[in-house]
Amino acid sequence: MTNHWVDIKNADLILIMGGNAAEAHPCGFKWVTEAKAHRKARLIVVDPRFTRSAAVADVYAPLRAGTDIAFLGGVINYLLSNDRIHHEYVKNYTDFSFLVREDFSFDDGLFSGYNPEKRSYAKTSWGYQLGPDGYVVTDPTLANPRCVYQLLKTHYGRYTPEVVASICGTSKEDFLKICALIAETAAADKTMTIMYALGWTQHSQGSQMIRTGAMVQLLLGNIGVAGGGMNALRGHSNIQGLTDLGLLSNLLPGYLTLPGDGEQDYTAYLDARASKPLRPGQLSYWQNYGKFFVSVMKSWYGDAATAENNWCYDWLPKLDKGYDILQVFEDMHRGQVNGYVCQGFNPLASAPCKIKVAGAMAKLKYLVIIDPLATETSEFWQNHGEYNDVDPAKIQTEVFRLPSTCFAEEDGSLVNSGRWLQWHWKAAEPPGEAKGDQAIMAGIFLKIREMYKKEGGAFADPILNLSWKYKRPEEPSPEELAREFSGTALKDLADPKDAAKVLLKAGQQLNGFAELRDDGSTACGCWIFAGCWSEKGNLMARRDNSDPYGIGQTLNWAFSWPANRRILYNRASCDPAGTPYDPARKLIAWNKAAGTWSGSDIPDYSAITPPESGMGPFIMNPEGVARFFAVDKMAEGPFPEHYEPFESPLAANPLHPNNAKARSNPAARVFKDDWDSFGTADQFPYVCTTYRLTEHFHFWTKHAPLDAILQPEQFVEIGEELAREKGIRPGDSVRVKSKRGFIVAVAVVTKRIRTLDIAGRKVHTVGVPIHWGFMGVAKNGYITNTLTPFVGDANTQTPEFKSFLVAIEKV
């Protein structure tokens, strides 16, 4: 979230799209009801299903799963063609006036530089025009046809209300009604917040759906303001934190990135990431990349990381390609992976195309499960009748199942969606011999290290030198680990302005990332968390809930990264002169007398830089402003374009009916053998979408009687019209089939799933909740991901769980 849960109460309009907050995040959704109560806010829900969020919405509109870019592109067109945008904001805080290279083009669904064999783009033309001074050339009059504003207008000019209705199946009246409500928030004192979740991420063009939402918000001046923002509602309690800590194949902590094979030179690695400003006077904060990087390496390798060995740069594994979960299961399926460790992760249920995943696991030599619960993955080799029909004798995998603690049995911190690091305390001992994850990880690692010490082996240096100064090596304490990722001075830190003055003594905890150094004198496991455990103590454990300004800013509750800022880009809540656009919802303002920015939040800006400096509010971007034109950052193009899901009822992309290459995302990775696993509309005519229900959490609560009672048995949802066509009545048992397998479940027939009119033909939607499996106290069921396709978003590789094709029949 750019903002945070409580801040939603400051919104005038809430758009829930690509998510279902009332069901998946009920206690966060309360702030929507607060906005309705105290600001007379309106709630819009756009979703293929009339969800429980829609049940309390002021306006609901359906759309076909996977067509969100078409819908939002239509909103952009509406705002631009009716001139309902926040002029001062877009002119000063975005790249509207920037000129784009002459060789950039868009032609019938494809951007310049496409290579159909590689299914990827050469992105050289996707850039700005640079002047001789190295800065971007701009045209403040916005008249130049190569400026971002003009290109944007042309690109989305095609997304008329009629086109939107035809692609999405949303009625023109509903669409225009929603556009009109959204347009009202272009006013400086009106804001809209967008709340989304996996309904946007789980598409082959999911990242671009989110970008399109962000572009709408930028046009309206709704980023960086109270009650605004792009608010990703993360699905689990700490995937925010684990992502922040870089536990993804290509990441290092704090959104630093691992080097590729070609990056053999340390300096070049840094230079490529420490972006220099693209406009005069910009902060371009990533210029400090080296400080963050060196501090991580000092945190990991201690004294072994030196300036001479480039802080152990060569010890880092280098990437020849991405190793996301889909790639790894593909490799496993090909027999190239021998071992796998699942720490609190149930991929047999969570990953797409169960038949492929289960087949891949059966090729493993060993599998290690660390979990508080008996998961499906831990028993992938066991025959569970129709739900997991395998022959154990044929599966030669050694499997270990290690019991871990749950939340109630450990101390530690989690990062919520609002970026708050919140500490929690142990209430009881775990059952039986269960151990904490830290003890389990240490137990395995110390054995490995012991063997390397004794026997030697492949490149043991990083293993032998991994910093391990914990008081109880077999069980590092949460406090020690938290202090380690928050950061410590390794030497006395002198004040850069006055060498005689010592800011921090060796061994003291850092106050924040501003104190990080690239000379090896600081260690910090994750720069964005820096200062969460300072000399003041554990700030994550703070419990002062006072809200002095009354706008939901509780700065002394827990710790929010970065630097305890609660609302990102909050400089953009003020006009260029530093005065809040809406004084009633003031986040920060320039205090001329004091020469600082201050207010109800920590400034996301250089605190002492005056407004007249011209420094932009988007300090992480070298431009200092937000980008409509994504330059080379996205896989499939600088402007989001609607593409069909890989399995779509339409044979062609209605925007590019004659270009087969532009039917679905041209830059999405598809493994060779998986092309044949995609079904077509003649055999699988219905759009299927998978989702959570409010009664359950993922695959966990089916183990808890209280929740199993609420939704005991697997079901699927279909509309009344499809039910009539197929002779299905409520409560009937039905089989839902995709090209990859089938499930059998109870039918819920509902008015809430409408048959849509797509380009003159009827399209039915089938809804499949995800929560059942063959373990647990609820009734056993099929794993929903039996049905889903093995293809992901072109940027993140997040699987396309939200839109694919099925057939349905009464059993």
Partner: protein, 290 residues
Amino acid sequence: MALQSLDIKRRSATTTPSPSVRKIPEVAKLIDISKCIGCKACQVACMEWNDLRDDIGTNRGVYDNPPDLSDRSWTVMRFAEVEPTPGRLEWLIRKDGCMHCADPGCLKSCPAPGAIIQYSNGIVDFHQEACVGCGYCVMGCPFNIPRLSRKDGKAYKCTLCSDRVAVGQEPACAKTCPTGAIVFGSKEDMLEHAAGRIADLRERGFALAGVYNPTGVSGTHVMYVLQHADRPTLYQGLPRDPGISPLVVLWKEIAKTLMSIGLGAAVVGGIVHYLSQGPNEVPEEEEETS
């Protein structure tokens, strides 16, 4: 602390008057259906707090689960897909459970002394140790709420968390409700809160929004805010004009004169009736036609 006072107002089958000198403020729970997201947190909080676990059932083609109130489900969500305005779908979700009537039909029809208690703060509570399992409370209830347990033959229903209220805490369902669709406080405050909600709903186009606090039972200590107060039956059969069955009223008038007739036979008859017929549950249709 006013809310925690649980002085007794009346007891079933008891003629001794209760002390009535102290003036105890009445409490109430207000359920705003327009804010309800049907998450069933109230169902879980109720079961968890009261140490109940209903059966893990089946799906019968609807979201409602457990499908009905039971001795172990003292509250359930009832889902209705309706189109009060043609073409405009509404998903009305009503938390069903005891209404804690000011004039409780269950208490009036209960033959077991002290099995049903009405506290001065308005809570109507069942005391299972005194319950004889006759099921008359089921019949006397205009909302079809109490359920007899097949395990111990006694009647159960929502207590409005009388144990929590007694120590100054709100009921478990009200505390847990994520959207604040359930609020708890003095009856006066709840009516005021309802008025604010109704004004908001009218501004949003629900011209006939209103509070459900039926006079037929002299008002209730669980009230609803309805978007369509003119049509309570839209909400899975919420009765339009609930009242205590005239026969229960009749009984109250003539009971004393009949007191000595057919002593033992009636007691035995009641037990035999239960054993042979099971719990007395009035099918919903029949209830509605009365």
